[in-house]
Each structure stands twice: as C-alpha cells, then as structure tokens.
C-alpha cells in the first residue's frame, strides 16, 4: 500500500506530523505498537516555515518531497503511482475571511488530486483531515467528485473516534429529543471539533441523518438571556458540564469542585459565550455552547425518549505531545486503506463543514438563518467507531 501525503505544512505537532509520522514509525493500538503495512512514497508541503521537517523525514524514511501535488501523486512519473492520498490541510499561514475562517486550501488540493485521477483513469481513496472546506459548496463538490469517480473518502476530526468518559454510545435508532454540547473554541472560533463530536452521536438517531433546517448563533448577553428563557435544556447543559475535568475560575484558585450551573458562575467566567442553536429537519434540536473561560474540554449530553436520565460523556483529548487520540484517527484511516471502505460516511463531515460555515454566517448576520442546502442525508454504520479496545 503506497500512500502519498499532501499537506499544508509538516512541522512538529502539526497535524501532518502527528498523523504522517504514525505511518512512518507506527503507533500504539490496542496494547501493542502497530506498524501499518503502508509505505509513504511521496509528500507535498505547501509551506515550509521554520521547523519544517519534510526533507528530514524524506531522507530518513526513503520518500520524495515533490513541488506539486500532481507530481506527488505520480511520484514524479507519468501516471498515478500511489494507492491512497492523505490530504492534511491543517496549520500553516493562510488568510482569514470576513467570518474569521482560515482559508485552508483543502478543496484546491483535493481538486488537483481529482484532476490526476481523471487524467490517469484511476482513482484511489482519499482521507481529508478535519473539515472538507470552509465553504459548503466547495465541500459538496469534493464529496460529489468522490461519488462520481467512485473512490472512498474519509474525513473529519479525531473527536468522534477518541476515548469517551464514560465509554458510552448513542443507541442506534434512539429517539433524541435534544442535545447539548459544551466546549472551548480554539482558533476555529466555532467548534468544528465540537460539531463533529455532537454529530457522530446524533447521526445514530432514529431515521438517520436528514440534514439541518435552521441555525442560529447567539453571542454575549444574548446567550445568557436565551439560557434563562429556556431556549435549550438547562438540565442537558448541566449534565454536559458535570462531565468536565477542567472547570476554571475558583477551581484554578484552590482546587475546589464547582457546580458551574450555579447562578452567575458561567457569566463570570465566560467573557464571550457563543451558542449555536441547530434545528434539524426531523425536529431534533441541538445546541453547541462555546464557553471559553469556563472549561477546556468537550462534553456532550442528550435527552432520549424513554430514558429517565440524559446520556452524557466527555470526548477525551489525551495530552500533548503524544496526542494519542490521533492514533485512534489513524487506525480509522488505515481501516479505509485495508478495507477499501470509509468506516463512517464522509457526509458527516460534509454536514459539519456546512454547519461550521452556517454558524459563522448566522453570527456575522446576527440572525437565525435557513439552511436548505444542508439537506445532507446519510446513515451511519451500526457498529461503534470510537476507540474502545
């Protein structure tokens, strides 16, 4: 299995490095050190800032860094010369658009791969790290290309596949009344990782995923007002928060535990709250709360019909530098490489990419927006996909 890597950058702790290296030196999996039966044959890096490791990796592991994506896929020869492509378009110096999205060239990279496939008459699986694009239209093009040329495609965040505390799964076919996800916004502002975590749970509901009807992003005092008005379940918000290992404020001061739902506590800690209220087409409601200043981890809670207590869990992000959660993700990429099928549908990430964009649009326009374009329909696999072994 010959793999080409197409990345924005490759330096220590970039996504390309901690994903790519796992194919080079192996990774911990289910209590053993696993070396994938894969050879990295070529690498493209869009930018080589200080700390670039592309050349030293190429030297040590016997592959070549090519100046263009087409050459990378063809290993400098006339035709496609690899069996899979990893597109890792995270990190690097790219402009921001007006909505604050970093314009990572994932779609552009992908397009160039597709051009090689079309020219050379053969297509191979593609893994795209994180969201497909900052633009739903671009993301949609990518997914449609994979259908048209019939190649497997895997995408998304590591959150859906990392450890969970507790290790619970949304029951297949569950009747979800409502869900709340709490987390911290990183450089993405709007939590793509949080959306993926929430989506990997909700997609399992009865009827499968049929898309999103409206999105409304609130910020600042409007968030607290909406919470007071009961626009989303306080019980679910409290349930998700109760899963956090990282309450800030007084906990940092003297180590005490806190009930973050006590009146005034969150308001004091979170200077710039964001709430993204999502209304799915089947009526399911979900709310993403970005509570920077209150917590630093990702926690989910959902009310299911017929269940007395909410289902809740923390998506565990294991520490830097090992970030073993990326090993969980690489095992999924490997699964696609060995089986020829994506373990979970790329449509999940099509939807979450679109949701990220829509949440930011709603934020920019200060109003609820209709999202008819987000009529993304898919069914997840019945088996759990997160790390449990």
């Amino acid at each position: 299995m010959r793999v080409a890597i197409v990345s924005t950058v490759y330096y220590y702790l970039s996504h390309a490095q901690h994903i790519g290296d796992r194919f080079l030196i192996g990774y911990p999996l289910a209590g053993r050190w696993h070396k994938p039966d894969v050879k990295v044959v070529s690498l493209y890096v869009d930018q080589k800032p200080k700390g670039d490791q592309s050349e030293e990796r190429a030297r040590e592991f016997g592959f070549t860094v090519y100046p263009t994506i087409a050459e990378t896929l063809r290993c400098g020869g006339p035709k496609l010369a690899c069996d899979a492509v990893l597109i890792i378009g995270e990190h690097g110096d790219y402009p921001l658009n007006a909505k604050g999205q970093k314009l990572y060239p994932r779609h552009e990279f992908f397009k160039q791969c597709v051009e090689v496939f079309e020219q050379d008459g053969r297509a191979v699986p593609i893994y795209n790290d994180k969201h497909l694009s900052y633009s739903f239209e671009k993301a949609k093009w990518m997914v449609e290309a994979s259908k048209r040329l019939k190649f497997p495609m895997l995408a998304g965040s590591s959150l859906p596949v990392t450890w969970r505390l507790p290790d619970v799964e949304m029951p297949a076919g569950a009747q979800v009344v409502e869900a709340v996800m709490v987390g911290e916004g990183g450089p993405d502002i709007m939590g793509f990782h949080a959306l993926e975590a929430m989506q990997c749970m909700l997609e399992r509901r009865a009827g499968g995923e049929t898309g999103v009807r409206t999105v409304e992003t609130l910020e600042g005092d409007a968030v607290w007002a909406a919470a007071r008005e009961g626009k989303w379940s306080a019980e679910l918000q409290g349930s998700a928060l109760s899963r956090s290992d990282t309450p800030q404020g007084l906990t940092l001061q003297d180590g005490r535990t806190q009930d973050l739902m006590k009146p005034g506590v969150l308001q004091k800690l979170v200077a710039k709250p964001l709430a993204c209220r999502i209304e799915y087409r089947d009526g399911t409601r979900a709310t993403l709360l970005m509570l920077n200043g209150a917590i630093k981890d990702f926690n989910f809670a959902a009310r299911l019909k017929g269940h007395a207590r909410p289902l809740s869990t923390q998506f565990l992000l294991t520490p830097v530098p090992n970030v073993t959660y990326s090993a969980c993700l690489v095992s999924k990429i490997e699964e696609m490489l060995t089986t020829g099928r994506a373990p979970y549908p790329v449509e999940r990430t099509l939807l979450t990419s679109g949701l990220t964009e829509a949440c930011l649009t709603s934020l920019a326009e200060h109003k609820r927006i209709d999202t008819p374009h987000l009529n993304v329909q898919y069914r997840p696999p019945a088996a759990s996909q997160h790390m449990r072994a």
Binding site: D21, P28, G31, G255, T257, D259, D297, P319, P321
Partner: protein, 420 residues
Amino acid sequence: MLLRRRDLLTTAALAPAALISHAAPARPKIAAVVTEYWHFSHAQHIVDRFLEGYGWNGEHHMPPMDLVSLYVDQKPKNDLSAERAQRFPAMKLCPTIAEALTLGGSKLAVDGVVLVGEHGNYPKTPKGQVMYPRYRLWQEIVKVFKSSGRVVPVFNDKHLSWNWEWAKDMYDTSRAMKIPFLAGSSLPVTWRTPSVEFPANAQPEEAVCVGYGGVDSYDFHGLESLQCMVERRKGGESGVRWLQAYRGDQFWDALREGVWPADLMTAALCRSHTLKPAREGFNDIFPTLDDMKRMVKNPVAYRYEHADGLKSTMILMTGLVEDFNFAARLEGRKDPFSTQLYLPMPPARTSLANFFSPLVNHMERMFLTGKPPYPIERTLLTTGLTAAGVDSLYEQGKRLETPHLSIAYKAPVESTYWRS
C-alpha cells in the same frame, strides 16, 4: 444501590452485643481527620467533594450526608481549612480528633469517619519512608469507638501505614471491633482506557503495571493497580510468598535477562498516553532500550510471587511515562489483556483531580450501607507489599520471603471502577 433503613436496622439487631454496628441514619454525619488541607492535597480533593459536591453520573452530585467536623493535624501557610470552615459553618474545625468524633460531647456523634493521612511535614525513616501518622490518627478514632461502645465505618486514604506491624494492627482491630473499613488508592476506581474489566476467574500467569513516581509514594498506586485486577482471578487472592526489588543497574540487568516478561511491559507502555518521545521532532515513538536507559534515571521494579504461582511486577519508569498501565498474560489468550487506569491529573491536563470522585462515591456508599464496596484485605496486602519493596531496596535488592503476606481474600465480581 441504597439499602432501605429497615434493612439496616434488622442487620444491626443481629450484631454482637459488645460493639453494635451503626444503623446508618437517613443523612449521615461525617467527620474528616486529615494531616494537611491545601490546594492539591488529598484532603482537599476528598473533603471538598463532600462539601461542594462533584460531577457524577452526568449531573452535579451532592453527597447525601453532612461533613460536620474536621481535624487538621498540620496547618502550613497554604492551609485551606479556615477558608472552608468559614464558607461551610456546619463543619466544625476541631482541635482534637476526639472532638471531631464527639462534636464536643462525650460520645461518638458521627456516622462515618474519613481519614486522610497523606501529605504533611513528617520525619522519614532511615529507609526513606515518610512517617505519615495514619496509625496515630486511627488509634485516636478507635479510642472514641471503644469509649462510646459503638463503631462507624472508616475510610483510610491510601495505605494503612508505612509500618507493617501497625497496618496489621489497624486491620486486626477493624476485624475484632467489626469496623466497616475501606482504604486504598484511587487507581482501582478511576476511569480506564479502554474501559475493560479483568475477567473474573481468569487465570493469569504474569501481570505487570508500568507507572511512575517514587518509592513509598507511587509504588503503592502501582501495587493497587495490579491488585485490583489480579484479585479477580480464579481462586481469588491467595497472598504473596516473596518479593524482590530492583533499581538502577540491577533493574536494567533484570530487564535484559527477562526476569519479568518484556512483552507485557511493552503492552503496558503501549497503553500510555504520555510515553515521552525519545527523539526530538517526534511526538509519539516507542523507545529503544537505550532510550529508556537515558530517560529513566531511577527505574524501580518489585517482582513478587503469589501463593498460587501468579507472578506480578510493579514497575516505576519516571521519566518515560506519567500514567499507570496494566498488562497481564491470561491462560488461553494469545494477546495480553491491557488497559490504562486513567487519572485526569491536574494541573497540567485538568483543573480537577476527578479520580477522587469515584473514591468519594465509594465512601458514600459505605457510609450509607455500612458495607465497604471492596475488601480492606486488598490494601492490607498492598500496604505490606509496599513495605516489603522498601525493605528489599534497602537491602540492595535482596529477595524477601513474606509469610506475613499470606492474605487470602475474594474480590466482588461487580466492577467498582468508574464506568458511568
């Protein structure tokens, strides 16, 4: 699972007349007897959870009991007990343990005692053990039990004592006086990644725990990690026959000679989330033996044989890992059974030491039901193993026969680690 009040009263009526086991009241009063109370001390993690509640089962849980008194043995500059007492006036700060238990009266006036004897400025033995005053604190508690003619459940944080004879005395007293007694580390009850239980009635040939930290402090956690797993094996725990400790060059020689199984050590290391990268520029890489030697300045291993032939090895690799990882070879299974006993550890990774939450929850269950959720014999054994490890190291790695550790017991089949 709560017993109904009348069940408990019935049980109490059957207890021997001399010392009546308490019938747990609807809302128990709990006394805390601690060495020191400051940010990140064990007393702070534990007592705060009684006072403020904690996240449990997807909600903020307030223990259905009242922490009514607190004794603090030492109060350094960063003491928090005064601040806590101010915010929780129902908790009386007591100058003596007797007063904490009698609330100023003449008889035992609480329904449970939490003894946290970790941290504090206490002298060291010639072997390097910190002489935490757990035994002294326990004796003061027992004095009140005796004079009151009544006992209540006691939780002891971590090992019973640095001193084996005293630990044994604590255990013997608890048996004689029928004191419901719970003890030990948070490792047995914390999360696991993966969330797996050691199969009941399994037949392990070898078991290994790879962790970190110092002798007499963190070795105990490694031993409890091992014990909470292997005690579930077929036949139950049969006790330990001998123990031999290794450190420094002896450790590397033993590793090379295969004194303990390298494959289990590897399996355990592969469960770590904190395997220190051996090469610059790599974030997650399996170390070579030379890498390990370079990174681990003070490796320690305690290897010991149980009466039924099981061999266990507790390994400390400070500098290589910062977590506790278990692996065992089970008869009839090709691949090792392995998991990490996951501690969400502040301050680097979290702000709370939430692995104290399941520990406190188990204490609550005992205070409400009168029954320890897991046997005290586990911690009696690991206390003895810790002392034997210290002794063996002190004697340059001599193999020590441990007839005093022929402690046999059966573990509950029901899992007691954090899964909900």
